[in-house]
Symmetry: C2
Subunit: 332 residues, 2 copies
């Protein structure tokens, strides 16, 4: 494995300059610091340095355009708390960093991690197209992604809730209540989880002997507002129930149905996804598929621990749970 | 949660008799002991009793018709060692039990676990049809299965190596070497892993623009001998390479090819699966897909720990690794 001397020789600079670059000293230029870090990463220096630390420093990166986490009613809150709990039991030092586009474009992922002495990271809210996600195909830094899978790199793991199980629970519940015209309002396209849920929905409908109607399947966004573009069309095509990819989407669907003069669940049944605190506060109270976000956070820490110790964990899925409330009804 | 008194009342017997049944005393009949245990399980007594123990007792059940584990060259050996390592770091007391048909038919799974005071188990070598596997749909005992998935029960988790990734690594390697007529000799039917690998093989062939030839795809068994039933047919249908579902199958395939006067890899390339010690001892040395069995065992312990503590882990997959040796060759 590369030493500081190797890096100095490769770059033709003094060992002391390399050392300053690696330790973030202020008396070298930003360009030189960056060059030292990038070279150190390229030469495989990172893990050696980080292994020699006494305290393991890890971080949570949150793409805050896509993931809210600051209050308990938001999806990311318990994820962060669960991860911190898992980290605490391992005596890790955790830093939470909003990783907006500026951070991602200013520095390479591996260089950032080495420069800050992080042994690993949990990444939340990144989509398949983010700069850093692209770099993860080659990273040497132990990294756990929520709801995103990177093929072929044993340093990267994926934690999530079993989408197939979640959608199956929702569809089977509605079918058991006599529904056949079941609509599915999905989340954003270009998301692995949305694609998995789409596949699961069609598969489960067919397993129940129902041909999935393309007019009743749509991609939206993870905000309530997306409902108004799709719900009228669902109703026009005789939907008697709507499965939603999040509780926020479901809240928009219920609102839109009310605007159209339809009652939930008397006229249309609605099922959410996630079981955010809002689910129990809606009117009617929302039947939903629970993702246990504390457990997801704890599982991410558990997975990161494995990756840091060279166990090449790839995928860790939690069970989805059916939470029965008041927003579905047997079809007359 | 049920108490000893509740069980006594339900059965109309003395508390002391229930206590004897639960603690395996000799001075009550076997039928009474069984009745007490089954009733205790039914009334949800198990977890309470087991939680109050100071030492966590867990066990490894091995269906020894299907899984050899006694010497280091056998598939189960490192699985058991890895699990024991993971257990040791958690101060668990581990018992290894060959669970043949007699054990499975003499007692219900949950009753057996309660009767022996086990807080959880790691099950190896069970197939989808074993009696106990069927009972796992309802078990309340934290249980981890190798290569087997039970839907809908949050007490049961599945650990394995990513079949899709493993088969994709093998097929992509052969395609990159110019092979198109690639055969796949799978393991036994009625196994979740065999089915996953079948799906993965066909998918990966299509992704490489090759229509999978049904004449080149067969289910066998996890023994070398199965090769002789399929290899002649593969060769008749112009196979230039054979992907095998285990190193043992691959050893049989190489042997059969040699019997037919064909050279490996000059005439036909062969890839194994597992990376057992035998892979490096074959002639030619076998290129294969590695399942890290120590890590699988350690991951099973990690998953069981989660399940015992109420984290409903469902699936934990490890990376498959491509191990390049001498049994494949570029197609001229």
């Amino acid at each position: 494995m590369a030493t500081i001397k190797d890096i100095a020789e490769r770059l033709g600079i003094a060992v002391s300059t390399v050392s300053k670059g690696l330790n973030g000293a202020n008396d070298i230029s930003e360009e030189m610091r960056q060059l030292v870090l990038d070279t150190a990463v390229e030469m495989g220096y990172s893990s050696k340095k980080i292994r020699s630390r006494n305290t393991t420093k890890v971080c949570i990166f949150i793409e805050d355009r896509n993931m809210d986490y600051e209050t308990i009613d938001q999806f990311g809150y318990e994820l962060v708390m669960g991860f911190k709990l898992g980290a605490a039991s391992r005596n890790w030092d955790v830093t939470t960093i909003p990783a907006n586009l500026t951070v991602q474009t200013s520095e390479k992922y591996d260089s950032y991690m080495l420069g800050h002495g992080f042994a690993g990271a949990f990444l939340l809210g990144f989509t398949l197209h983010d700069d850093w996600i692209r770099q993860l195909h080659k990273t040497t830094v132990p990294t756990v992604l929520l709801d995103n899978y990177i093929p072929g790199n044993q340093n990267v793991g994926y934690v999530g809730t079993d989408s197939d199980e979640g959608i199956t629970l929702a569809v089977n519940h509605l079918v058991a209540m006599g529904h056949k015209q079941i609509a599915f309002l999905n989340g954003s396209k270009n998301s692995m989880v949305s694609e998995e849920r789409d596949v699961a929905f069609r598969k489960c409908m067919r397993e129940n002997g129902i041909h999935p109607d393309p007019n009743l399947i749509a991609y939206g966004y993870y905000v309530p507002d997306c409902a108004k573009y799709h719900v009228p069309n669902f109703i026009e095509h005789h939907a008697t129930a709507v499965v939603c990819a999040s509780d926020l989407i479901a809240s928009g669907v219920i609102n839109e149905l009310h605007q159209m003069g339809l009652k939930v669940p008397d006229d249309v049944s609605v099922i959410g996804y996630d079981d955010l605190p809002i689910a129990g506060q809606l009117s009617p109270k929302l039947t939903t598929i629970r993702q246990d976000r504390y457990d997801l956070g704890k599982s991410a820490a558990l997975m990161l621990d494995g990756l840091i110790h060279g166990v090449s964990l790839s995928k860790l899925l939690l069970r989805a749970k059916f939470i029965s409330r008041e927003s579905t009804k047997r079809l007359d």
